[in-house]
């Protein structure tokens, strides 16, 4: 028989005046289920906490119910007091009789009745609380970065620190998308020099180990303890790390099959193709060049954000090389977010670049030239002959995205990019602890933002994995009974955190304690009750609910 201690907090007059605590004490006393009832004016005060701790020790209570305020306000306060009093903090049940009764129900009689029910429910529940322990595991502070474009390079550089090794892996050479570029907007920096500078920084960093021409074969493990197997020159190498950053980039959308844009015709380029090859091959006789914005945007379902500014950059590059060529930008909506680009736009216009807003547009052949047929909102079709057409197309996911997503059990979004933990608050993390996504593999963006994501991912890792420090594990987690589980795998599917997997040898599901965040999805979906939540067991919930409904 457990010795339950019930503490009633008056919260000054807040509870004492709105709820008849004497009546509650009297009733509970009669029920004979608690070993003692104590009352205090303000339990959260220093004096109140001392009173609580001493009373627990003196009365040898082994389970505690506190009727006071919202758990949000003081659950952690009281859990700490329990610890200090030598009691496992999870043997506490806090009842919110302030926000849920005193402040909500003006009728004192009703408020008292409600509070009494909640308190009886808590007493019934707390009996079944078991001691939970906050464990820790050893964690490896090293990091594997997959993809050695600008994102991967920047991640590696900002992570390499004393006591931490970074493995930078690419199936190709260092540099990624950057290698194809001539300039970076809006400052027109030279990307090749930037790349050289960054690579030179590697030489000062013995902490960074680069594996070029390497394929990722397998990734096993979890936050703090991953094993990544790569194939480098037909040799298998196994790398140990605590965290993984995916920076596998994206690729340019090529509008194949979208005939109206004339892709496939001579002198029709995508923006990237033009920057890579077309720029150096502008025919001498060329007089006019058109850049068409938003090609494929409707099909892709998103604005890639960088193409408008990138198109202006291309105009600058063309003008630099061939001031005689007329450059016309055909656009629908100019997307120039942030404080720098309106200026860049004005500078572009000042260079004599023309901007035409179109509502429809088509590219065809006209002798040696290309003919644009377009409408600009007034209902008439206009014609324009140009020599070169550049299609600004935006980014689509790297085809390997889904392979990595599958390998790591992380999600992809509606468009095929890696899905972030939270669109606003967790842009570089995933729902699986220890796996981060950065750069264009998370969504279209420019170099600057990719660098920022790289640094953000490093920030998250530098904060979470510290050489020599262990990782805490959620105590209020799930468990799966070996003897009840039939391995149907429903729990594996409903776990958002990749924390449940099938033990193929035993044909049952197992919970990875490190990844489990205690959401209880597995427990709710398990038909046999094999999966359960340690702090929300069926018994705890049943007895609590029964008293509330009584």
């Amino acid at each position: 028989m457990s010795r339950i201690g019930l503490f009633l907090c008056e919260c000054g007059p807040n509870i004492a005046e709105a709820i008849d605590l004497d009546k509650i004490a009297e009733f509970i006393n009669k029920e004979n289920k608690v070993a003692g009832i104590e009352r205090h004016r303000l339990l959260c005060s220093e004096e109140g906490k001392k009173f609580l701790a001493e009373s627990i020790k003196q009365n040898q209570f082994d389970h505690i119910v506190i009727a006071a305020c919202s758990p949000k306000q003081h659950e952690s306060t009281f859990m700490e007091v329990l610890s200090q009093a030598g009691l496992n903090p999870y043997l506490l049940q806090l009842v919110n009789i302030r926000e849920q009764c005193a402040w909500m129900t003006p009728d004192k009689g009703l408020a008292t009745k409600k509070a009494l029910r909640l308190i009886r429910a808590a007493i019934n529940r707390v009996r079944f609380h078991s001691k939970l322990h906050e464990k820790e595991i050893e964690a490896n502070p090293d990091v594997v970065v997959i993809g050695a474009g600008m994102t991967g390079i920047e991640t590696a550089l900002s992570l390499a620190q004393q006591g931490r090794t970074v493995y930078l892996i690419d199936k190709d050479k260092l540099g990624g998308m950057l290698k194809n570029l001539k300039r970076l907007f809006p400052g027109m920096l030279d990307p090749q020099r930037l790349l050289q500078e960054k690579i030179a920084e590697f030489n000062n960093q013995t902490q960074i180990k680069v594996f070029e021409d390497s394929q990722v074969k397998e990734i096993l493990g979890f936050f703090g303890n991953f094993i990544v197997t790569i194939i480098n020159k037909e040799k298998e190498i196994s790398l140990k790390a605590g965290s993984i950053v995916l920076g596998i980039g994206a690729q340019e959308f090529v509008p194949e099959g979208m005939d109206q844009f004339g892709y496939g015709l001579k002198n029709v380029y995508t923006a990237l193709q033009f920057e890579k090859e077309g720029l150096t091959k502008i025919p001498d006789e060329s007089k006019a060049l058109a850049i068409i914005h938003c090609v494929g945007r409707e099909k892709l379902g998103y604005c890639s954000k960088f193409c408008c500014v990138n198109s202006m950059k291309l105009a600058h590059l063309i003008k630099e090389k061939r001031p005689d060529i007329k450059v016309i930008q055909f656009y629908q909506e100019l997307c120039l977010p942030g404080k720098e680009y309106d200026k860049f736009y004005r500078e572009t216009r000042e260079k004599g670049i023309e901007f035409i807003r179109f509502d429809k547009i088509g590219v065809g052949k006209n002798g040696n030239q290309l003919e644009l047929k377009y409408g600009s909102g007034d209902g008439t079709e206009k014609h324009l002959n140009v020599d070169i057409v550049i299609l600004a197309t935006g980014l689509i996911p790297n085809p390997e995205t889904k392979d990595f997503a599958q390998m790591l059990n992380i999600a992809v979004d509606d468009y095929g990019f890696f899905k972030e933990e939270h669109i606003k608050l967790g842009p570089v993390s995933t729902l699986t602890d220890g796996i981060f996504i950065a750069g264009t593999c998370q969504g279209p963006k420019d170099i600057k933002e990719s660098i920022l994501q790289a640094k953000a991912a490093s920030g998250r890792i530098l904060s979470a994995l510290i050489p020599g420090r262990k990782l805490p594990i959620e105590a209020k987690a799930s468990e799966i009974s070996d003897s009840l589980c039939m391995g149907c795998g429903i729990c594996v599917q409903v776990c958002a955190y990749g924390a449940v997997s099938i033990d193929e040898r035993k044909h049952i599901s197992v919970v990875n304690e490190v990844l489990c965040r205690g959401c209880g999805n597995c427990a709710a979906s398990c038909p046999s009750g094999a999966a359960s939540h340690r702090h929300f067991t069926n018994q705890q919930l049943y007895y609590e609910a029964r008293e509330i409904l009584r």
């Binding site: 003897s483 009840l484 599917q493 409903v494 099938i502 044909h507 046999s528 094999a530 007895y543």
Partner: protein, 372 residues
Amino acid sequence: MKGKIIKNSDNINTKIREILESLISKQIFDAVFVPVRVPTGESFTYLLIKDKNILKDCIPLPPIMSVQGARAFKDLTRLGKLKYKILCVMRPCEIRAMIELSKLRQVTLEDVSFLSLDCPGVYQTADYIIEPEKYDKSFSSLLEKWEPEGLRPNCRVCNHFSNQEINSDLHIGFYDQSLILVPLTKKGEEIFTSLGFESTDDLADWENRKNELLRRREEIRNKTFTELHNQTNGMEGLENFFKGCINCHNCMRVCPICYCRQCFFESTDQLRRESEDYLIRTEKKGGIRFPVDRMLFHLGRMTHMSLSCVGCGVCEDGCPMDIPVGQIFNFIGDEVQKMFEYLPGRDKDEPIPVLTYKEDELHEYEDAQETK
């Protein structure tokens, strides 16, 4: 649709036996999994058969479902996949249950091929064992007439009695004393060809009969479901429906889908309470029925199983109190499956809706709630 028509197959069991023997002889399969009459004669069981001589006793289409094929199969791959090739000869509802079990990781279908059969329905096991000869006789005429009289209620409303939306490799239909062979998959095509057949015969007659039958079945089905709906509406209706239940849980034990090692509703840890608890529960109701949790068991099982319920009716066969439990499961299953646009056993790659989360679904039900 094209296939092979084998004429003058007055005894279908014999004809199918020949096909099975041929597949074993040609080493297309190492064994077949097929129903056989038990030696005493009044029931049937599934046998895994390697020996051609024993194959002679098989009854691929028995007149009762003494055991659901999928339930029978479960033990075969309990410890992992087969290491040999087998052919399962089953009724459509049994194959559909197999597909569901594979999604729930209870069977492994690697190296398993399916031969499905047109199913006219079956008799109630309890009736059959009293007068097997009588029912054997009427069953053989059933294949000609396809009339629902005397069949189990679930069979009478079955709308997946042939190759409709089935995940089988090869299908055998019956029409006008002929066997209709239709390959349904690439694997089925290979089996079909290895038997020396070609898909040259026109199957319009068989199909027309099938569609006509389906139309009649749908009519009965709708009528029956409407009746069931009215009968079981509200807690009182439901209570009345299950009034005879003695909590034996037989329906769960014979169900092909129910796969838990220990049923949640039989678990001491989960549902048995302190004695005081039962007394407290009488406070509101005045009294509490024992054995307890009888209705909770059925509702719980419905929650767990209804998405995968193939309506085979074996639970009703197993009920000693003659509760139409198969019918209510079939009816509820149908509703729930329609709600999620899901059909159990249709496609082994179609995930069970309970395993997938969609942000946008069931708004029509939300709205319905709101207007209430």
